[in-house]
């Protein structure tokens, strides 16, 4: 199998292509955040204070509330600004990645251009609202 070689100018670089590449790189970005959360958690003592499921939960979202039910003795290092920033980064990547995924699934089943346009704007609206709410909850909880 040989790779198709069509130049970028001929192919164009539209919304779908942009989001296609964004989906791939945001996945890598979330892997990076999860890896940072894993290393950070182990440095803060997760090896003896948390079980695997709680550790994975922390890796998916570095919110200090997610370690409340573990044997972590002191929550202060888990609620530092650093973890709020990595959590915010994760929220923004995950919300955009996830809601665009939702849109791609919808558009696979919607054939009417009007509905496609409607859902595209609706998803952008939900994205802005949910990203704002998520970051707000993370910083104020």
């Amino acid at each position: 199998m040989s790779a198709r070689k069509v130049s970028l100018t001929k192919r164009g670089f539209d919304f779908e292509t942009t989001m296609w590449i964004f989906t791939r790189f945001s996945a890598l970005g979330m892997y990076l955040f999860a890896l940072v959360a894993l290393v950070g958690a182990l440095l803060m003592g997760a090896r003896t204070q948390m079980n695997l499921a709680d550790l994975i939960r922390w890796m998916f979202m570095s919110n200090p509330n997610h370690v409340l039910n573990t044997n972590v003795p002191d929550i202060v290092p888990w609620s530092s600004d650093f973890w709020k920033w990595t959590g915010s980064g994760f929220i923004l990547l995950a919300a955009t990645h996830g809601l665009h995924g939702f849109l791609s699934v919808l558009e696979d089943y919607l054939t009417h251009p009007g509905w496609r346009k409607f859902f595209r704007y609706l998803v952008i609206l939900i994205l802005l609202a949910m990203a704002a709410i998520g970051v707000y909850v993370l910083w104020t909880s």
Partner: protein, 128 residues
């Protein structure tokens, strides 16, 4: 845009895509589940925190149930591991030739991790 569909539901269900098709379907189901449940979880936390609403407590009570935890963590793990395979194959298109082997490798990574996590969740649930 070529948007008209000529495939009937019956034909679609008969389509045997085997391994790659299975991962495609599971990727969609797990992705939609994550969007829905994580979205509700964030919204619930926001409502309880901001307005003292019971919505967050109700939602979190469902989410803290061990059966639900098994479901959502398998969605998260599968989506993450299958997603990594997609990213690697898409960024190095020459590897597409080996996608079936990649899918086998993916199950070898996913299943032990999944089994260990489920074991931990059930053990915690049984301990009360």
């Amino acid at each position: 845009m070529a948007l008209s569909r000529n495939v009937s539901l019956k034909d679609a269900l008969r389509y045997q895509g085997k391994g790659p098709m299975l991962t495609f379907i599971l990727h969609r189901i797990s992705g939609l589940s994550i969007v829905l449940f994580v979205g509700l979880h964030v919204l619930g936390s926001f409502l309880s925190q901001q307005f003292g609403s019971d919505a967050g407590t109700v939602i979190n009570a469902i989410y803290e149930n061990w059966i639900f935890q098994i479901y959502i963590i398998s969605c998260g793990l599968f989506h993450a591991i299958n997603g990594l395979r997609i990213v690697i194959l898409d960024l190095w298109p020459k590897l597409i030739e080996y996608q079936r082997e990649a899918i086998w490798l993916e199950w070898f990574v996913f299943l032990p991790l999944f089994a260990m996590t489920v074991f931990v969740i059930i053990r915690t649930a049984l301990a009360g």
